[in-house]
Symmetry: C2
Subunit: 312 residues, 2 copies
């Protein structure tokens, strides 16, 4: 039984991670500023003796005593992280320095929720962990991409210089229940649009690709990585790649919707292809995604349908 801090624990991924770690019997402290997270995502644990929720911004120092830190605090969807680029940068730079300072002081271990965005608009396909990436340092996505890249750099600086134990997960697109309804990511957009009979908004031609993993697969990967001895970066994602247009059609079909597909202008610097090479995670963690895409999508569709009812 460990004392575990989850920053960003009231968000989409963080709340599922909270569920797993609580179920496993750990003491879990969630720190969140509720920028994109919601109390509702973790409210079923409030009152439990092993659970604590702290309303705190990681840009400010934090003094607590823990054994492991899952550092997830950061806006994650493009509209959210572009909403206040300065804050996104502060969260990923100062916030990460603070969590590394905490990790150092208490002799804990920190796992950084990094991202496939460190590879940018990749010129190598699929992306493995050796690839240095292709990122525009001054483009509209830079606050997130460069913020996460330098957060990784910080982890390894603390590891080499201070002996801090770090783990770095490069997370590829993930979906599931508790994604925000309106954070603008493609899966939530398409499902909501399909459920509400609105046009499915495809940016550009829809020929750009992504590979989506279901959130329970990711959570298992994160916990497995944290408790491994692999300090170098590890991709966590589902290698099943589809075009965005295929996703639109698939989701429309699963919902049984009569929505049209609506083509909108391409987003600037939108990565054209993205697919994880997960051989490292397979080999070194024995991890791979197990939830089939359609099964994950159906669960997510059910969740959004209930949310819409709840709103009405």
């Amino acid at each position: 039984r460990k004392r575990i801090l989850i920053t960003g624990g009231a968000g989409f991924v963080g709340s599922h991670l909270t569920d797993k770690l609580m179920m496993d019997g750990h003491e879990v402290t969630v720190v969140d500023n509720f920028f994109t997270g919601r109390k509702r995502n973790v409210e079923h644990w409030i009152g439990h003796e092993n659970f604590e929720l702290i309303n705190h911004d990681v840009v400010e120092p934090l003094y607590i005593e823990v054994d492991q830190i899952y550092h997830l605090a950061s806006p994650a969807s493009p509209p959210n992280y572009m909403y206040n680029p300065i804050k996104t940068l502060k969260t990923n730079t100062i916030g990460t320095l603070n969590m590394l300072g905490l990790t150092k002081r208490v002799g804990a271990r920190l796992l950084l929720a990094s991202t496939s965005e460190v590879y940018g608009d990749p010129e190598v396909h699929p992306q493995n962990e050796e690839y240095w990436g292709h990122v525009n340092p001054i483009g509209p996505r830079a606050c997130y991409d460069e913020g996460k890249r330098v957060a990784e750099t910080m982890c390894y600086a603390y590891m080499k210089q201070e002996g801090v134990e770090v783990r770095v997960a490069r997370i590829f697109n993930t979906f599931g229940p508790r994604m925000h309804m309106n954070d603008g990511r493609v899966v939530s957009n398409f499902i909501l649009q399909a459920l509400q009979g609105e046009g499915l908004t495809v940016y550009g031609s829809g020929s750009q690709t992504r590979a989506f993993q279901y959130v329970s697969d990711l959570v298992n990967g994160l916990v497995s990585l944290m408790n491994s001895n692999i300090s170098s970066p590890v991709n966590l994602g589902n290698p099943e790649e589809h075009t965005i247009l295929e996703f639109a059609q698939l989701i429309k079909g699963l919902v049984g919707s009569r929505s049209q597909i609506q083509f909108l202008p391409e987003a600037q610097d939108d990565p054209q292809r993205r697919r994880p090479d997960i051989r490292k995670a397979k080999m070194m963690l024995g991890w791979e995604p197990v939830v089939p895409l359609e099964e994950g999508l159906n669960k997510t569709i059910q969740y959004f349908a209930r949310e819409l009812e709840h709103q009405a």
Copy 2:
């Protein structure tokens, strides 16, 4: 006549910039923590009514009133920035955020001393400002490269979000008097070795290339960029490219030294080719380097010879 802040103003480039701006009749405030800078570099201005020297670390907030900020504070040579990677990261992230916060509050204009290192080990040659770079986010140079990349990102975030006026100079290798004797950069190493009859230490085969500009050319470029209306990044460097082995031979010749050339192991992630494309600076600033390489080297050799005498 302007009130001008130079962070890192007691360093190599900053002290020459101080000289120029003082000669032009401005009020100059130098802020430096003397990590690699020295009071000696600016001591000829101490006591002048337009000059102020503040011993301050940019990682801490700074409250002063100025019109322009040349933000140079950062270790610059590989041995210096690798000496304490965490501090290099803090200086480039928190330090830059502080200077942008200051710029915002007082409505000033900030010029960031960025670097050709944002291009990393480039796969495009020569490097123009559109190139996104090829940087290892977790390599030994990352504390500097990623630190500077995200510092650029921060500048443009403050520009777009807060209307802060920014200028970004991507500075290529520069040399001249007041380079630190022992900071391990190639020009100072070779000159000192040649003057002292020691072996000239070439890392790797010496076939890697660099292009070196003399410091007075850079200083003119920085001032010209600051006072232009170009907010996008501008390369400042001398496009005359040589292999490191050629440099060793040239310097040995100019010094008239009988030193041998000594081949040492290659440095990790050492950029193999680097040469600025300076068409943008030429066209938009009317700037280009004018000091011939040999002339600059001779001045620098004289400086180092005097320094060695001074030490003895």
